[in-house]
């Protein structure tokens, strides 16, 4: 199969390319930019004039709910939503049921993802057995079957001795450790500890619930030299800690969930359970600091932190609802909004969604160099649209962004050169 994507503005941040040119794909790989490779005869032509052509998005944190919570979503349903959102790689944290703490689960997820065939699904293995934070998981075996890292899966390890050993063991195999920094005790609450929580009478989660754990973990990194990635930061002080550690040369990276860059504690007014997330939405100042962190690269990736829910999970008084936002459908649109808001230029936003997360994962993907796997996202930056609740492709309809108006929409998504999504009216 030979495909040419014609006349698009190709943005490939990994190689600082931003040019209007044809992109050639042969046998699932990038074969040339601007100039056709010798002997190229197009089987398929995609008209990309006035459109942006960029690497497929890489999402560092997406709950697909399978295995274990198929009433919320499945690998097939969420892969389709990813494809429609221009996302070609999903990284699945290990808090499935059963958790990803043994090779059989990794294999099972791989088979399901392959059968769905709409997105690449990568897995993070468990850092500790059953994610209980007591015994080490079989990290080497998990790596062997393809886990791209190990993670606490949203259940931070409370026991510092266990964590130290887990980090040490992971470092032995050069595994990157993905941590979600939130003290399980201090982080037990419903909203950012601030004026909105005071008014609404919601139990507060102080910033120290995040920064205390990060500070501890950074000291362990300093001792061990292990590569650690902190996922889903929520506060200005956390960004500061990471920036300082990076300046010192510690091998740490971090990301932000896209909703943290657009919402704040104020959005909880009216007890909107769609904005119930963990870590919580914090102050406007925190939101601005997270945006600045993404802009200057301290936060090297933006992820969806996708958590699809069945309607019942959100249809209750705030404190009885489950946290999380269904984010695959809106990852690109919300990211493009950062450009409009003047946070960072378009190529930089694309970097945080492609090459940035690829580097964190230690992968060679997220770029369009010759020989790279042809995972491609094509979007029209000028389409105005509005997200209606019925438009969500994810099975999880729990989005606070319905009714928002956007500019820029995906027209095609290619996975290994194959079109896995084409917007209505596109070939």
């Amino acid at each position: 199969m030979q495909t040419v994507i014609q006349g698009g503005r190709v943005i490939d941040p990994a190689r600082r390319i931003d040019v209007v040119a044809d992109l050639f794909i042969v046998a699932g790989r990038i074969a040339g930019l601007g100039q056709a490779p010798t002997g190229f005869v197009a089987d398929q032509i995609i008209d990309a004039r006035n459109r942006i052509v960029c690497p497929g998005l890489i999402d560092l944190c997406a709950r697909l709910r399978e295995p274990g919570q198929e009433h919320k979503a499945t690998i097939a349903s969420e892969s389709a939503a990813a494809a429609a959102g221009g996302i070609t790689t999903l990284v699945c944290p290990p808090d499935t049921d059963p958790p990803i703490d043994e090779p059989a689960v990794v294999e099972w997820i791989r088979r399901r993802a392959k059968a769905a065939g709409q997105a690449r699904v990568l897995t993070l293995g468990a850092l500790t057995h059953r994610l209980h934070g007591e015994r080490l998981a079989e990290m080497a075996a998990l790596q062997e079957v393809g886990c791209v890292g190990v993670s606490d899966g949203g259940h931070p390890v409370a026991n510092s001795r266990v964590l130290r050993r887990a980090l040490e063991y992971a470092a032995t195999f050069h595994l990157t450790v993905f941590l979600t920094p939130l003290d399980p005790e201090l982080g037990h609450g419903l909203a950012h500890e601030g004026q909105i929580a005071a008014r609404l009478g919601l139990s507060g989660i102080p910033v120290a619930a995040e920064t205390g754990i990060i500070a501890r973990d950074l000291e362990l990194v300093r001792d061990l030299g292990v590569r650690v990635h902190f996922g889903r930061l929520s506060s200005a002080r956390a960004v500061e800690l990471i920036a300082r550690a990076q300046a010192e040369g510690l091998p740490v990276t971090a990301d932000a969930a896209i909703h943290q860059l657009h919402l704040s504690e104020i959005d909880l007014t009216g007890f909107d359970s769609r904005c119930h997330v963990h870590p919580p939405l914090r102050s406007l100042r925190d939101k601005e600091a997270l945006r600045a962190g993404v802009a200057d690269g301290v936060l090297g990736a933006i992820c969806s932190d996708h958590q699809p829910h069945e309607p019942d999970a959100k249809q209750a008084p705030f404190g009885d609802t489950e946290p999380g936002i269904s984010g695959l459908d809106t990852l690109l649109a919300l990211s493009l909004r950062l450009v409009r808001d003047g946070v960072l230029p378009l190529p930089a936003v694309i970097e945080r969604l492609t090459h940035g997360p690829a580097r964190i994962l230690g992968l060679d993907s997220g770029q369009l160099g010759v020989g790279a796997v042809a995972d491609v996202c094509i979007f029209d930056p000028d389409i105005d649209w509005r997200l209606e609740p019925g438009d969500l492709r994810s099975r999880g309809r729990n989005s606070p962004f319905t009714g928002w108006e956007w500019q820029g929409r995906v027209t095609h998504t290619l996975l290994e050169g194959r079109i896995v999504y084409a917007a209505e009216g596109e070939n």
Binding site: L190, E193, G194, Q195, A197, A198, R199, L200, G201, L202, S203, G204, P206, T269, G270, F271, D312, Q315, A316, P317, F318, G319, D320
Partner: protein
């Protein structure tokens, strides 16, 4: 849509009573004046008015309460309504029925008003958002968030003793962190233009940034109680010791309990209030609770008139709003 808007119709009239926050002085004054006119009913030989004749009020209590439920029941009965008491804490919620299912079932029984108490902040608002439009929802306490009828009976009681709000100094003492009573009362006092609202508690019992509610923060009652006109003591729950918020009841009483000595710091004619039930020797000394400055039992009596007022106002507006839209 915030609760402030949810509870009003297009003309700005009260359809539900979910929170005091966001209401105007006109709303509160209407309630207080109506309550004043109803206050005499209890002293009459025949204690009933026909206002809610033929209406059904459901007390929907997801959290155990005898006192509040009883005063709502009495208020409804004095307005000639039929009353149904549902104690959900011990029935369907335990069997796994969702709150929405419970609501649908009770709605199907053709009721006109839900009086709701729930352990989660925001529950009354959630229910108001989901019930059929002909049903009025009164919040009888949602988590730590709001207890607006209690706040109204508190300001009603204050107004009867101290009608000049701009010159008023009020101190609220104790567990503000968990107190829906305090949050609603602070809003009500601010809306009515109270001169000064002080909160007095150790830092563990104050929500972060409590000053943004419009209060002055004191940690020492010897300073905070000075020259106040009203002292509102809050109930201290036993479980606060287990949550590592306080070392012991006795230490709390030593530092913050309202004794005759401490009360002497306030104005000589200061009144002492408490939403009840009181813990003698924990937040308040018996001599103060039973003393001449205490209006604690008066609050209970006033609670009936205030709740009658709120019931008749909201159901009255409901009838009109439904009539207008029909």
């Amino acid at each position: 849509m915030s609760a402030a808007h949810l509870q009003l119709d297009r003309q700005g009239r009260l359809l539900h009573f979910l929170t005091v926050e966001g209401l105007t002085r006109r709303h509160l004054t209407e309630i207080l004046d109506t309550a004043e006119s109803l206050h005499g009913v209890a002293e009459r030989q025949v204690k009933k008015l026909p206002t809610l004749h033929g209406k059904t009020v459901v007390n929907l209590f997801f959290e155990a309460s005898t006192r509040t439920r009883t005063t709502f029941e009495l208020a409804a009965k004095r307005l000639s309504a039929d009353v149904l008491n549902l104690n959900i804490a011990t029935s369907s919620a335990v069997k796994g029925e969702s709150l929405l299912d419970t609501l649908r079932n009770i709605e199907a029984m053709q009721c006109d008003m839900f009086v709701v108490r729930h352990e989660q902040s925001g529950a009354a608002e959630f229910i108001a958002r989901h019930v059929k439009p002909h049903i009025a929802v009164l919040n009888a306490g949602d988590g730590r968030h709001a207890h607006p009828t209690q706040a109204m009976l508190d300001v009603f009681t204050i107004r009867r003793h101290k009608p000049d709000f701009p010159s008023l100094r009020v101190a609220i003492v104790g567990d503000l962190l968990h107190s829906r009573v305090a949050r609603s009362l602070i809003h009500a006092l601010n809306i009515l233009g109270a001169g000064e609202i002080r909160v007095i508690a150790p830092r563990t019992l104050l929500p972060a940034q409590v000053e943004t509610l419009g209060v002055q923060v004191f940690h020492d009652p010897r300073l905070g109680l000075r020259e106040v006109d009203v002292v509102v003591m809050l109930r201290l729950q036993r479980e606060r010791m287990e949550g590592a918020l306080l070392p012991s009841e006795s230490e709390f009483f030593q530092r913050y309990g309202l004794t005759e000595e401490r009360l002497a710091l306030a104005q000589p004619d200061a009144i002492v209030m408490h939403p009840g039930p009181i813990n003698r020797g924990v937040e308040i000394d018996s001599r103060v609770a039973d003393g001449p400055q205490s209006v604690i039992l008066e609050q209970v009596t006033n609670g009936i008139a205030v709740r009658m007022a709120i019931m008749s106002i909201t159901l009255g507006h409901h009838a009109r709003s439904i009539g207008e839209s029909a």
